[in-house]
Symmetry: C2
Subunit: 209 residues, 2 copies
DNA sequence: TATAAGTCGTGATTAATTTCACAATTAAGT
DNA sequence: ACTTAATTGTGAAATTAATCACGACTTATA
């Protein structure tokens, strides 16, 4: 894996860059400078140049970056050509938001199935994605490597264990529970309450003026 | 502001610690070690001790931390006594998820009003929170300092401008748009598509085994 | 062609964060 | 009272990330 030298902080910004470059292309722009990109994505322009530089010299001095070239490059780097299938566990409000989001437009990921326990929902589709009963998880999920967890915290541990048993590699965890997984499984936590509290804490203790 | 020396990385973890300490107290635990806490919140135990140490010597060597004492301390530090009022803009699936979440239980924040354009929703309540038409934003929102943005990206800039004009201090932005605000307004971006893409990128390029 | 303005790529520096590792202290058991 | 095991708090080191600042190159203009 030749990209192992890329800092994690950089890797997290790549999808953001990719989306804005896409926007630019749709607007018909053919060139862009790190300064313009900086204004758009709110990342320091030196940081952007440094980020890009990990992939080689993608720009031209005095000119900037060619949008199409850069996009093509990122498409390959971010594996935009391969589609990663994702399962969604928990079709509440948050889960439904994901199903309606239709990531696939700009993305390399697609939710291909969802699970819930509500008999009103099981057997139906949302955004074209079939909803199965969670009891059928083991039978349906084979081959899917990534799951989004949008269930109540109380279910998080048991569902996680079942996902791990079925060989999941990555979990995007929206429950407040900090789930425990084997070493080879990667979990990213997004804790909505914590995010809101952190924002409030920063407002009070780190005044911007 | 005497807490200005606390690293931002630490500040972001405080709400997480707070919630887990609360859990422990409800379970009747009276003491806890940094190692136990580490297992629960998935943060290195040395990092936890360092985080706590910014607030002074809160623990006892050979013993650990007293749950109640620590909780009391964080309650003050995190301003759990004061309630910060929050407005939610956009009552789609994601917005509805927030309204049903009922943060106030463990939290210092409360969503006190919501806005949308859908005539079916305007005038109703979800989770006890009244939903107003977004045209009434200027009339209703006075005094509220924090907003959660769960609207389509296309509306993000115009709504942000209106919020800023009304004196908002902090925005939790769930739209993919990177909004532009004056210096004195703090924005935290949570970009669901980017989070999912970043997870997939890490899975492919940073294997855990 | 000469000049000016713009922009990248990057060495060097600074800043922020995490982790190691251990002396000091406490609790518990015998 | 003594010993053993546990655990903190923190100096120091290591790691990671952000930022500065400038030489080199490109484009545009006169």
């Amino acid at each position: 894996m030749d990209q192992n030298k890329i800092p994690q902080a950089t890797a997290k910004r790549l999808p953001l860059y990719y989306r804005f470059l896409n926007n630019l292309q749709h607007q018909g722009k053919t060139r862009v400078s790190s300064k313009e990109l900086s204004d758009a994505v709110k990342v320091d322009s030196a940081t952007i140049r440094r980020d890009f530089s990990y992939f080689g010299a993608l720009g031209k001095k005095g000119y900037g970056y060619n949008v199409e070239y850069l996009l093509g490059f990122f498409r390959k780097t971010l594996d935009q050509d391969e589609l990663t299938e994702v399962a969604l566990i928990g079709v509440g409000n948050l889960g439904t938001a994901f199903l309606n989001y239709n990531f696939v437009k700009n993305n390399n990921t697609k939710i291909v199935m969802a699970f819930d326990t509500d008999p009103e929902k099981v057997g139906t589709e949302i955004g074209g994605i079939p909803i199965y009963h969670i009891d059928d998880l083991e039978g349906k999920i084979s081959g899917v490597k990534v799951a989004i967890l949008t269930i109540p915290a109380s279910e998080a541990d048991s569902v996680t264990d079942r996902l791990v048993t079925k060989g999941i590699s990555g979990i995007l965890n929206f429950t407040p529970a900090r789930i425990t997984v084997p070493e080879h499984v990667r979990v990213h936590h997004i804790d909505l309450a914590v995010e809101l509290q952190a924002l409030v804490y920063f407002l009070k203790h780190y005044p911007l003026d």
